[in-house]
């Protein structure tokens, strides 16, 4: 009996260990390996940091030439003091990985279409299809081109490879116990970092900002509604205010001429469903004020880039110093250098430049094998790339992507276009080689306007509005990117891919890009509005231009003088909506006050009293939002289509049409037998809005007064969408206000820099914190300031000792 007992007991022990050392999928959810994960000596408990969590005073890092000092301040911003450039970027990679390793790896996996590898194919293959989409849009193809240039340039090469070396030094120092929490939860391990991943990360940012287009949607609109209606609904330029650079007819250069025959208009309907158009509410603000308008007499520069706000935070703040550079600001975890920030002499910031940088070319394949396609009357060979997609717990999936010289053909019989017999090649400006790393390298070291201009000459995509201010008193704005010279109307619809002449014939020389230096009005600003008026000698077009924030910013700046840093903080947190001001009185005029129910009467009163500020406690804001979100799709019900992708007109143009075209055929609701007028829609949507509000109140057990912050419910979500790692925040603001905080989007970094002679004074905050670890105090240590509109004064050091009491701790990295 005894041997049997031994075998039995041993087997149970081994089985227990085995099953607790393995992650299981139960009911579609992955549970971590419980023994490994719950072991307090190695598992998630080890990710729980004490309040005063510090690094050892000395660390030995392979690859360093000389010691590097890291000073961490009270909000855990590292101030990196290196003695040479190689060590600087190695240390940046090391310290960034220390706080953000999981995030930087996950984001690059997501960019490259490798998420299935980590979490499986997902419900209805949603994750797998996402991965296929990333590969079919040529994300890796784009990153490889960026990497090629990076590798070939001695400076970019050094920066990217040293940064990677630092990340890898950190990865190699880890055992399971030290892994970021997410690795433990999802049960996988970090892999080696490569400079290609930095390229992927930058391209992923370009995808967020510049891959948006609506060519297919517009082509469908053309087929359904006709040219005249398309021009009415989707004008190229909405004359709503001032462009970023206002210099009518003062373009002192001879534009590049190409043939100006407009491309033929397509006549097809394209059956690809659910193509998304970028949210017109995503954008950013930046501005710089000349010393003539500030209290100190030196410029102030402000920037708040708006993004999908997630955790771990999008940005990682850092100061980088060697004898040749001293820059501070925010970096993107995964990319070396400072992206938005300042140094001893200058400050700079970015907003997204709205511009059409995507084209779709109609392809005629020789036959279903897709080995050849028609080009200029001949059959040109395609290139087929077999994508190997590793799917967790499943067999490998292979997906063939057909490439033409235009770019990949993303949608075909096997991906999202089952009913569509036409094919379109996808051309994205960021597929091309480019060298953005050099721009940031040079901006970090720039001393003056000329240096800034030279730095931007390396920049192609994603096109940005670069704002600038210098201690010598210059302010500037330059819209920088690689832009094709377009014929009128080109790029608005799909193009004929059988003629090479349909492609870009030339690119706008960088010196012809829209730019401005020290304008008379004493400030430069951008908020994703149109770059220049119609006198700019090149045709420009975009998915949409911002219509409201830019006017509010310009109005305030124009009216202000003796501006202080506090004034600028207030402006960044300004909740006023010009959209509400422009449409709400019009809507209210259409109500029949006598015919309202009691709850509608209350709503009517609240709206009449509302001052158009989206403050956290504004009740009118909630009513207006409910009204607009009911009215807008009701007007454009003809534009909703399950089979075809279509795009809504902008809010600005919708309001414009409501006011100027009272008889537009779109006002009639297709789902009712009656013929509705605009007044009917306004009244119906008002009733529906009040119903929505009543329902919301009931569901949320709200007292009689509804708060905008509750109704909006700003939610900062962890990248894995794990509810427990996210935060619901009480915060005012609206996409159309300068404080462009909507439910999940908003200012991802708020920075105000006073560029003063005795050194920059910088103030900033972001919705999260420096650490990516949900078990760290610094996972969200800046969040409260962010939601309260407060700022941290950034500690900008000349030498480590200057930190004094403001140093939380410091660590020396020694060569190993």
């Amino acid at each position: 009996m005894k041997p049997l007992k031994i075998v039995l007991s041993l087997s149970i022990t081994l089985l227990l260990v085995w099953s607790l050392n393995k992650s299981w999928v139960v009911g579609g959810n992955r549970i971590p390996p419980l023994g490994k994960f719950l072991d307090p000596f190695h598992g998630f408990w080890q990710n729980m940091e004490p309040n005063d969590h510090k690094l050892p005073q000395q660390l030995n890092i392979p690859g360093l030439k000389e010691p590097v000092t890291l000073v961490f301040d009270s909000i855990l911003i590292p101030h990196v003091f290196a003695q040479n450039e190689e060590d600087l970027y190695l240390a940046q990679g090391y310290v960034t990985a220390m706080h953000r390793l999981w995030q930087m790896e996950f984001q690059t996996h997501a960019a490259a279409g490798r998420v299935s590898e980590l979490i499986g194919a997902g419900k209805d293959d949603a994750v797998l299809n996402y991965d296929k989409g990333q590969r079919r849009l040529g994300m890796v193809f784009a990153a490889e081109h960026a990497f090629k240039r990076m590798e070939g340039d001695p400076v970019a090469n050094m920066v990217a490879f040293k940064y990677a070396e630092g990340i890898n030094a950190y990865i190699q120092s880890l055992s399971y116990k030290d892994f970021p929490l997410e690795y433990k939860l999802m049960d996988y391990a970090p892999e080696e970092w490569t400079p290609l991943k930095s390229a992927l990360l930058l391209r992923s940012m370009a995808q967020t900002l510049n891959m948006g287009d609506k060519d297919v949607q517009m082509t469908n609109a053309l087929a359904l509604f006709g040219k005249e209606m398309v021009d009415l609904l989707y004008p190229d330029l909405e004359p709503m205010g001032a462009p970023i650079v206002d210099r009518t007819n003062r373009w002192d250069f001879e534009p590049v001429k190409i043939n100006d025959i407009p491309p033929a208009l397509p006549a097809e309907l394209i059956a690809i469903s659910n193509l998304t158009t970028p949210d017109p509410n995503i954008g950013s603000n930046n501005w710089a004020i000349s010393g003539s308008k500030t209290k100190t007499g030196t410029p102030i520069l402000c920037n708040d880039p708006h993004l999908n706000i997630t955790l771990p935070s999008i940005w990682y703040a850092i100061q980088l110093q060697t004898p040749t550079v001293n820059a501070m600001g925010v970096s993107l975890p995964g990319a070396p250098g400072v992206i938005i920030g300042f140094n001893d002499s200058i400050a700079w910031g970015v907003t997204n430049a709205q511009r059409d940088l995507v084209d779709w070319y109609k392809i005629t394949f020789e036959n279903s094998r897709k080995e050849k396609y028609e080009l200029d009357g001949e059959w040109k060979e395609t290139r087929k790339v077999v994508e190997k997609i590793t799917v967790r717990d499943q067999a490998v999936v292979y997906d063939t992507v057909v490439f033409t010289h235009w770019g990949p053909v993303p949608y075909d019989e096997s991906y999202r276009a089952e009913n569509n017999r036409m094919h379109y090649a996808f051309r994205w400006i960021a597929h091309d080689e480019s060298e953005e790393l050099l721009t940031f390298y040079k901006l970090n070291r720039a001393k003056n306007y000329n240096d800034y201009m030279k730095a931007l000459d390396h920049y192609s995509s994603p096109a940005q509005n670069f704002v600038f201010a210098s201690v010598t008193g210059d302010i500037a704005m330059r819209i920088q990117g690689k832009f094709p010279v377009r014929r009128k109307g080109e790029g608005k619809f799909v193009l004929d891919g059988s003629k090479s002449a349909s492609g870009p014939q030339a690119y706008i020389p960088f010196q012809h890009n829209v730019m401005d230096k020290n304008p008379e009005r004493g400030f430069v600003s951008s908020a994703n509005q149109y770059p220049a008026d119609a006198t700019y000698p090149y045709y420009i077009n975009a998915v949409s231009y911002e219509a409201y924030r830019n006017r509010r910013i310009n109005t305030i700046l124009r009216e202000s003088s003796a501006i202080t840093v506090t004034d600028m903080m207030n402006l960044q947190n300004d909740n006023y909506s010009i959209k509400a001001e422009e449409v709400l009185p019009f809507l209210l005029d259409h109500l029949d006050a006598a015919a309202l129910s009691d709850s509608e009467k209350y709503g009517h009163q609240v709206l009449k009293a509302w001052d158009y500020y989206y403050h956290a406690d504004a009740e009118g804001a909630a009513y207006f939002e409910a009204w607009w979100t009911n009215l807008f799709p009701m007007i454009w019900d003809e534009i909703r289509n399950d089979q075809l992708s279509l795009s809504y007109p902008t809010a600005w143009n919708t309001i414009n049409l409501m006011k100027t075209k009272p008889d537009l055929e779109f006002y009639d609701r297709k789902d009712t037998p009656e013929i509705e007028t605009l007044t009917d829609l306004i009244r119906q949507s008002f009733s529906m809005a009040v119903e929505d509000i009543m329902e919301w109140k009931e569901k949320n057990k709200a007292a009689d007064k509804i708060r905008w912050a509750d109704y909006k419910d700003t939610y900062i979500e962890h990248l894995t969408r794990t509810e427990a790692f996210g935060f619901h925040v009480q915060h005012g603001g609206h996409a159309n206000a300068v404080n462009a905080s909507s439910r999940k989007h908003g200012p991802s970094w708020r920075m105000v820099v006073s560029v003063e002679k005795d050194g920059p004074k910088a103030f900033a905050t972001y919705p999260g914190g420096q650490s990516g670890n949900p078990g760290s105090l610094h996972y969200s240590s800046m969040l409260e300031h962010w939601s309260n509109g407060k700022y941290f004064k950034l500690l900008f050091l000349q030498k480590p000792e200057d930190a004094g009491k403001q140093s939380f701790f410091s660590t020396t990295l020694n060569p190993k």
Binding site: I6, L16, L38, F41
Partner: protein, 110 residues
């Protein structure tokens, strides 16, 4: 007394093992304890030793934690309570320790 000695021995051995080895070293530590020291109720000794070790370690970490991460993880694992999560931690560690100690004692023979 032997029972208590065994528990303490396993705790110490598992504690040292966890410094150098992965989590499953607790099974080996418990087995060594079961093999070297003679007592009654071997399973219970191993179970209590590891359960106490894990529970105390988890409590100590939690006491100085800056952020209530255990609460958050308890939500992710759908147990929805830090106390329950600690109990599950102790229980799973205990089971492995218990069977480890039992196996060790059986190997020792009489």
């Amino acid at each position: 007394m032997k029972f208590i000695t065994k528990i303490i021995f396993i705790i110490l051995l598992a504690w040292v093992a966890e410094i150098y080895l992965p989590w499953w070293s607790i099974a080996a530590a418990a087995a060594v304890g079961g093999f070297l020291l003679k007592s009654k109720a071997n399973f219970l000794a191993g179970f209590l030793a590891i359960a106490v070790l894990w529970l105390v370690k988890a409590l100590l970490i939690d006491m100085s934690a800056a952020v209530p991460l255990a609460d958050k993880v308890s939500k992710v694992l759908l147990v929805n309570s830090k106390a329950l999560l600690m109990l599950v931690t102790a229980l799973l560690g205990g089971l492995v320790g218990g069977f480890g100690a039992l196996t060790g004692s059986l190997l020792r023979g009489k």
